[in-house]
C-alpha cells in the first residue's frame, strides 16, 4: 500500500468546512504535560506521600537520636573506672591514695585520676549517714575516679593486679556489669527502633504503591488514547514516570521538611527547657534533640526513595496496562 499524500487544500467540490478562521492571539499550547497534572487523585497522592514520608522521617530521627544517646551513655560510663581503698588499721590513707593514683596514671590511656576528698565523700554518704559526718571516726572507703581517654582501652586486669599487690585494701571497679547492661539496653533500643523504622518503611512503601496505582487508575483513558494514536511503550512510560516522580518528590519533600521543622522546634524547646524536670527527662532519653548528620542524611535518602518508588510504581502500572493493550493475543 502506498503512503497517501497529505490532504490537499479543499477543491471547488470540497468546499472548506468554514471560511479561513480568524486567528486568535491566545497560545496554542496549554503548557500542560500529556499526563493531567492537578487532579484530585494526584493532590491526594501528594498528601498521602507527605504523611508517610513525615512519619518515616520522624521514626528515623527518633531512632537516630535514641541510638546516639545510648552510645553516649555507654561511652560516658566506659570512660571512667573507680578505685576503692578500704581503710585498715595503721594505714596511711593519704599515702595509699597517692600511690594508687601514681599506679593508675602509669597506665597508657589513663588521662586523669581524681580522689574524692573528705567533703565530697561526706556529701556522697549524707543520704544514709546524715550531715556533719567525721570521716576520720568511721572506716569509710575512699574513692578515686580514673578518667580514660577517648577510644583508649587500658589493661584493667594488669591495673587491678598491681593495685591489689601494692595498695592494701584497694580494688578496681571497671563498671563492666553496668556497661554490659547498658550495652544490652542500647542494642535492644536501637533494634526495636530500627524494627519500628522498617515496619514504617514497609507501610510507607505499601501505601505509596497503592496510592500511586489509585492515581494511575484515573489516567487509564490517557494511556489508551496514547496507545491508539501510536505511542510506544517507552514514550508512555516516560510521560507517567516523569510526572509521578515529580508528584512523589513534592510529597516526600513536604513530609521530610515538616519532620525536620519538628525536630528543629523540639531542639529549640529543649534548649529553653534546660534545668527543668521535663527538659532533663527528655534530654536524658533523646540527648540534644537533634537527629545528627546521619539522621538528616537518612531523611534525605527516605525522600529520594519515596519519590523513586512512586515513579517506578507508575512505570510498572503503565507498563502492565500497555502490555495488555498491545498484546493482541490477550485482547479477547
Amino acid at each position: 500500500m502506498n503512503k497517501p499524500s497529505a490532504p490537499t487544500a479543499p477543491t471547488q467540490e470540497t468546499e472548506p468546512v468554514t471560511e479561513q478562521a480568524q486567528k486568535s492571539n491566545r497560545p496554542l499550547k496549554s503548557g500542560k504535560s500529556i499526563v493531567p497534572g492537578e487532579t484530585i487523585a494526584s493532590t491526594a497522592l501528594i498528601f498521602v506521600i507527605a504523611i508517610m514520608a513525615f512519619l518515616a522521617c520522624l521514626t528515623l530521627g527518633a531512632v537516630s537520636m535514641v541510638s546516639s544517646s545510648a552510645n553516649k551513655w555507654q561511652s560516658d560510663i566506659s570512660r571512667e573506672v573507680t578505685i576503692q581503698i578500704k581503710p585498715a588499721d595503721g594505714q596511711a590513707m593519704e599515702d595509699d591514695i597517692r600511690k594508687a593514683s601514681r599506679i593508675a596514671l602509669s597506665f597508657e590511656g589513663v588521662s586523669k585520676v581524681t580522689a574524692l576528698n573528705d567533703a565530697a565523700t561526706a556529701r556522697l554518704l549524707e543520704p544514709w549517714l546524715g550531715s556533719g559526718l567525721e570521716l576520720a571516726e568511721l572506716p569509710v572507703p575512699r574513692l578515686l575516679t580514673v578518667s580514660i581517654e577517648d577510644g583508649a582501652n587500658p589493661d584493667f586486669t594488669a591495673l587491678r593486679t598491681r593495685l591489689e599487690a601494692e595498695v592494701p585494701g584497694a580494688s578496681l571497679d571497671d563498671h563492666r556489669a553496668w556497661v554490659n547492661r547498658l550495652t544490652t539496653m542500647a542494642v535492644t533500643m536501637v533494634f526495636i527502633g530500627f524494627s519500628v523504622f522498617l515496619l514504617m518503611m514497609a507501610a510507607t512503601i505499601t501505601t505509596v504503591i497503592f496510592a500511586t496505582r489509585g492515581a494511575m487508575a484515573g489516567n487509564r483513558d490517557v494511556v489508551e488514547v496514547l496507545h491508539f494514536v501510536g505511542a510506544d511503550s517507552a514514550f508512555i512510560s516516560r510521560q507517567f514516570q516523569g510526572h509521578f516522580l515529580l508528584l512523589g518528590l513534592k510529597g516526600a519533600l513536604i513530609g521530610t521538611a515538616s519532620a525536620i521543622a519538628l525536630f528543629l522546634l523540639l531542639g529549640v524547646w529543649s534548649y529553653f527547657s534546660v534545668a527543668t524536670p521535663q527538659g532533663d527527662q527528655a534530654s536524658a532519653l533523646f540527648g540534644s534533640f537533634s537527629p545528627g548528620i546521619l539522621g538528616y542524611l537518612g531523611m534525605f535518602a527516605v525522600t529520594i526513595m519515596v519519590a523513586g518508588l512512586t515513579a517506578l510504581t507508575s512505570r510498572w502500572t503503565v507498563h502492565k496496562q500497555i502490555q495488555i493493550l498491545q498484546d493482541y493475543n490477550r485482547s479477547l
Partner: protein, 207 residues
Amino acid sequence: MGREVLSDLSFQVAPNSFQFLTGPSGAGKTSLLRLMLLSIRPTRGLVHVFGQEASKIPPRQMPTIRRKIGVVFQDFRLLNHLTTYENVALPLQVKGKIEANYRQDVTDLLDWVGLGDRMHVLPPVLSGGEKQRAAIARALIDQPDVLLADEPTGNVDPPLARRLLRLFIELHRSGTSVVIATHDLSLMDQFDARRLVLNSGRLQIYE
C-alpha cells in the same frame, strides 16, 4: 461464552478504497471496527493487517501498525486537559517529531476542518460537532493508510455531516482507505461507495 456478535465474515479493505459500514444499532459495527483496529481478537477466524496475520504481530511492532491506522472514536476520546491544537498534534508528538516541523501542518488542518479559531480551547468548551472535527483532524494529521471512523457524523447536523463527508472523500482521493461506520442512510446516499451491511452479525457486501 456469550452471544456471538459477528459470524462468518470475510472481506477485504483494499488500498485507497472507500466503504461505508452500516447496519442497525447493535448489529456489530463497532465490534467489527475494533477487530480491524486490533483492540479485540476474534474467538474464531483471522484478521490480517497490512499483509500480516494479527496474532503473529509482536507487541513491540503494534505501535508502528497503529500509526498507519487513523481512528475516529464514537466518543471522540480527546484529552480534556490539552488544547484542540495539542490533541490534534498528539500522533506527531508521540512519534517524537519536533513541534516547529509540524506546527504549520496542524494549524492548516485545523483551519481546513473549520477549527481555526478554536485551536487554543480545551475540549470541554467545544460543541459536539467541534469535538467530532477535532477527533477527525487527529485521525488525519499523520496521513494514515487507513481511516476507521465510528459514527463520525453522529453528533452533527446534516449540513455539517455533508461537509465532513466531503472531508473523508478528499482524504480518500489523497490515497487513504476509508471505512465509515454509520447508520445514516442519507449520508450514504450522497456518495456512491461500497457498502458493508451488517445484520444480526452477518455481513452482506454491495460493491
